[in-house]
């Protein structure tokens, strides 16, 4: 005989057993003996948190009411698992590589670590899951009530609400103990997962035991069941058991979406995943589990409908059938199966939700109150985080309890489950878009989530409270303010749809549309784009995520990588030295944290800290490059760019220097060419008189000219050419001295008139010879000079003799005019010849620029070049004056007694 105390006692023992399982598993996990934990079977069984009390009890009820439709709830996850390669693999890879802790974290991380999205998804998850938790509490309470009702005679009727509180409290305790024992970076809970795997087995065994009992114990085998099914179909209300295509597709899609987006499913699928390869096994093993779970649903339902009294709650057939036939042991097992279903769901869901609530709501709030606090103050952050988790767990279970109290626990189990499903399914567009579409943006995700959530609340969640609830009967029937298009269950005039399908259709359609269009219209931030690339291309970037196993293979991988970076010899030597330090032979040291740290530092010197960290992380953890790592890499890249720009600046400097050098070189080359031209010119100027001298001297030597007159003439030519040669040499030396600035000047006081007199006297022979008349205005010439008047006279002599020689007028005249202009003295020499042609005017002051057709006049062509040098030294100038009647030269000088050489020259040194 089952007494209430027995029931509670068995429950208690069962829970103790779960505690022990969790405890042992946790302990082994901490000793890194994770071999059995990484078994794909444990992973597959842990996925059974999908099968909650709703599945355990509710599926039978569902089948009793709507026939085969309950299969859709299993069909969705089956499709997802079979198609794991396409979606789940990517989801798990991203979860692993990004160290994602929850579905909220995944969405937030994908969209540039947006905390707004984290909060949003957390809120949706909490709101969507609370009814579900209430559902579990309700089912456990109901199952207690079943025993109580049947055995009321010997039992103290337990207070149902009291029971719910005890159950909730016990679950909170278990969850806190095993869900928040330690803060694992990966948020894995080996103990909990193992306990849930055990519960999964209990669920399956219990349901199958009841099923076998029903079919072969009381139903008369498969034939009896077939008959019972026919009977049930006929007895069912018109159309209730017929297949509705739209609802089937809708519900299958909904359960598939929920399978991916339910926080507890994300927790076991992605966060608790130890090795990606587990997915391959689960892809067939989990559908098999679901198949076995659903195998006896219809038989139990039809037999229950046929045998049990009318009005019996079909949701509890699993329990009431054994009890009806007084199979206490079987009933006990069924009770434990339902208990397992409920508890495993609540535990995992509350862990997942607590992680989300504490990470995305409580911790940001706490951190914002600590702004500006010294970093050392964060030591208690760990404790705060653990407390936040525990608080969240209690809060979530309390929320579930209060929902249960408020909703009254009346609604059919399946209906509540579907509402939850539709709520969390709103995360699907943002999640799937984030994994497969790089263009998905934060703004799009936020807008889509809000839109979908609001539509879901309006069309499904709020109406679910019934006509006495949030929405009035008239609002449900006629829409708000009588607007028919806004009727919650017939939005935009779409009438006649099933409420769940209707809500799902509108919420997801609008969610997706808003998500896509806002994404297209908004521009993602750099971090978002970086994350988008990380998520969408996760399969290209990394190998399968594997468990962190510190073994020789990892060490070898590290060596391979180090060889790539350090070079083979150096890497091998370094690894050997490290192994030796650990007392090991060979090249493969143990991958201790100490060794990893040193390797990282070693590599940092070569590839930069961030890159080294990322590379080692990739090999060690199976975790790929995180965003922070990438950002650090970007920083290093930035530094490199800066160095590059510095190098560029240096290069620019060098280029400038090179250009300057090349300019100087060009100048030198030019000078060299000028020098060559000058030498060639001098050669010519020297050889020409030399030619005459040699030719005539040979004639004289050979006695060729017997005529004494001719001989005399030849001798005089030799003489003239020798003089010309000497003058050329004198001019060259003079010019050389002047040009090199080595000339010594002898300034003295003299009047201009006297200087001109001397110059004319020196040129009198050529003036006479050329019969040139000189015109002067002597009264203007009484200007006092203080300069090297010998040099000045040399300039004047040159100009006068040039005029005499080159003036081509018949009646040669030269006018010399002296005047003062602008503080300077001008002396103009203007003849009446045809002057210097325009094209030659700029050249006449250059060396050897003698105008060729006047070469006969003698002179080496250095005269004006010498004049220019002299006037330069005297602080004056000499220029050609164009536009005069003939050739015209202007000499300018500083006026007065002031020394052009500054005051350092005493005025009485004219004796020097």
């Amino acid at each position: 005989m089952l007494t209430f105390n027995t029931l509670v006692g068995v429950c208690f023992l069962y829970v103790i057993m779960l505690f022990l399982v969790a405890f042992v598993a946790d302990k082994r996990a901490r000793r890194s003996k994770v071999r059995f934990l990484s078994s794909p079977m444990i992973y597959t069984l842990s996925l059974s948190v999908y099968c909650t009390a709703w599945t355990f009890y509710g599926a039978v009820g569902y089948a009793a009411r709507s026939g085969l439709e309950f299969v859709t709830i299993y069909l969705g996850p089956t499709l997802v698992m079979i198609g794991w390669w396409w979606f789940l693999r990517k989801l798990v890879r991203v979860g692993r590589s990004q160290r994602v802790t929850s579905i909220a974290d995944l969405v937030s991380s994908r969209y540039g670590k947006s905390n707004l999205l984290g909060v949003l998804v957390t809120l949706i998850a909490v709101i969507g899951t609370t009814p579900y938790i209430a559902l579990q509490l309700q089912s456990v309470t109901l199952s207690f009530a079943v025993f109580a009702r049947d055995r009321s005679a010997g039992w103290v009727i337990p207070d149902l609400e009291q029971t719910a509180i005890w159950v909730a409290g016990g679950l909170a305790l278990f969850t806190i103990l095993f869900g928040t024992r330690n803060l694992d970076v990966n948020e894995r809970h080996h103990g909990v997962v193992t306990a849930i795997a055990v519960e999964a087995v209990v669920k399956l065994v219990a349901l199958m035991a009841v099923g076998i009992f029903v079919v072969w114990g009381i139903g008369g085998g498969s034939q009896g069941i077939s008959a019972a099914i026919q009977q049930a179909i006929q007895a069912a209300p018109e159309g209730a058991w017929s297949l509705q295509g739209g609802r089937w597709v809708g519900l299958t899609f909904l359960s598939a979406a929920a399978f991916l987006t339910l926080p507890r499913m994300f927790q076991v699928l992605v966060v608790e995943n130890v090795d990606e390869r587990q997915l391959a096994t689960a892809s067939w093993a989990f559908p098999l589990y679901l198949f076995l779970m659903s195998l006896f649903v219809i038989p139990i339902a039809v037999v229950g409908l046929a045998i049990l009294p009318k009005g019996e709650n079909p949701d509890l057939f699993v329990l009431t059938l054994p009890l009806y036939f007084e199979r206490d042991g079987l009933a006990m097992l069924a009770f434990l199966g339902g208990f397992s279903s409920a508890t495993s769901m609540v535990i995992v869901a509350s862990i997942a939700l607590a992680t989300m609530v504490s990470n995305h709501i409580i911790m940001p709030l706490w951190l914002s109150t600590r702004l500006g606090v010294d970093a050392s103050e964060y030591r208690d952050a760990r404790q705060i985080l653990l407390s936040a988790r525990r608080l969240s767990i209690v809060g979530i279970l309390a929320l579930g309890y209060f929902y249960y109290r408020i909703s009254g626990g009346g609604a059919a189990l399946a209906a509540i489950g579907l509402i939850s499903f539709a709520g969390v399914a709103q995360v699907l567009p943002a999640m799937a878009g984030g994994l497969f579409w790089r263009g998905a943006s934060r703004s799009g995700a936020v807008a889509g989530l809000i839109t979908g959530f609001v539509i879901w609340a309006y069309t499904l969640f709020l109406p679910s409270f019934g006509e006495a609830g949030v929405m009035s009967a008239s609002m449900l029937a006629d829409g708000p303010w009588g607007i028919a298009a806004l009727r919650p269950q017939a939005l935009f005039g779409v009438d006649g749809l099933d409420p769940v399908v209707h809500a799902l259709f509108w919420s997801l359609i609008l969610n997706c549309s808003v998500f896509v269009s806002v994404s297209l219209l908004s521009f993602p931030s750099p971090l978002e784009r970086l994350q988008a690339a990380q998520f969408v291309n996760v399969l290209d970037q990394s190998g399968p995520a594997r468990g962190r196993s510190f073994n020789a293979a990892t060490s070898e991988d590290l060596l391979v990588m180090a060889q790539e970076i350090m070079g083979s010899d150096q890497a091998q030597a370094w690894f050997q030295a490290q192994a030796e330090q650990q007392g090991k032979q060979g090249y493969l040291p143990d991958t201790t944290p100490d060794f990893i740290g040193r390797l990282e530092r070693e590599l940092s010197g070569l590839v930069g800290t961030a890159t080294a960290h990322a590379m080692i992380g990739q090999i060690l953890g199976g975790t790929t490059v995180s965003v922070d790592d990438l950002l650090a890499v970007a920083d290093e890249t930035q530094q490199m760019l800066e160095q590059t720009s510095q190098l560029e600046a240096k290069q620019l400097e060098l280029t400038t220097t090179a250009r300057q050098l090349s300019e100087v070189n060009e100048k030198l080359t030019q000078l060299s060419i000028q020098k060559d031209a000058f030498l060639s010119q001098i050669s010519h100027e020297l050889r020409t008189p030399m030619t005459s001298i040699r030719a005539f001297s040979e004639i004289l030597r050979d006695g060729g000219a017997n005529d004494p007159e001719a001989a005399a003439r030849h001798a005089s030519i030799i003489h003239d050419e020798s003089v010309r040669l000497t003058r050329l040499l004198d001019d060259l030396l003079d010019l050389s001295v002047l040009e090199n600035g080595q000339v010594q000047l002898y300034p003295r006081r003299e009047v201009m008139r006297e200087v001109l007199d001397r110059a004319i006297a020196a040129t009198s022979s050529v003036i006479d010879q050329e019969k040139m008349h000189i015109h002067r205005n002597r009264s203007d010439e009484g200007v006092a000079l203080y300069t090297d008047t010998d040099r000045l006279a040399q300039v004047f002599i040159n100009l006068i003799s040039n005029a005499a020689k080159y003036c081509d007028a018949k009646d040669k005249r030269l006018a010399i005019r002296v005047r003062q202009r602008g503080g300077r003295l001008q002396v103009d020499f203007v003849d009446n010849g045809s002057g210097v042609p325009l094209e030659s005017q700029s050249m006449i002051f250059e060396k050897f620029s003698r105008l060729s057709d006047q070469a006969a006049a003698g002179g080496a062509g250095l005269g004006l070049a010498i004049c220019r040098e002299i006037m330069d030294k005297l602080d004056g100038s000499i220029t050609y004056l164009p536009g005069q009647s003939g050739a015209a030269f202007r000499v300018t000088l500083p006026i007065g007694t002031q020394s052009p050489f500054g005051r350092t020259w005493p005025s009485d040194i004219n004796h020097l």
Binding site: R687, P689, A695, I699, G704, S852, D853
Partner: protein, 122 residues
Amino acid sequence: MKRQVLVIEDEPNIAEAISFILSRDGWSVSTHASGTTAVQAVRDAKPDVLILDVMLPGKSGYDILQDLRSADDTRALPVLMLTARGQKTDRDLAERLGVNRFMTKPFSNSEILTNLRELVGG
């Protein structure tokens, strides 16, 4: 009949020296001092051989040589070039243009005679 030689040389003393040496050797010598009108002077004088200076007023000896070599009546005229710029590049240029003899100043009198005799085949 005396061999005709035309001397184109702007330095009067050099022209006089060459005239004296060649006349004494039995040549009929005429001189011309301008580069500009040199080619016409060659046409007018129709010499058996031409002595050509390089540095001439108006037109260089190279240009004159080029003109002579491109005209039918003067293409074959033997030319002896004289220059005070004795660099190799000058000689190369002259030879490319088709000079027969190239001498640098100052020259020896016998050398210029030998060259001229060779040029007119006597």
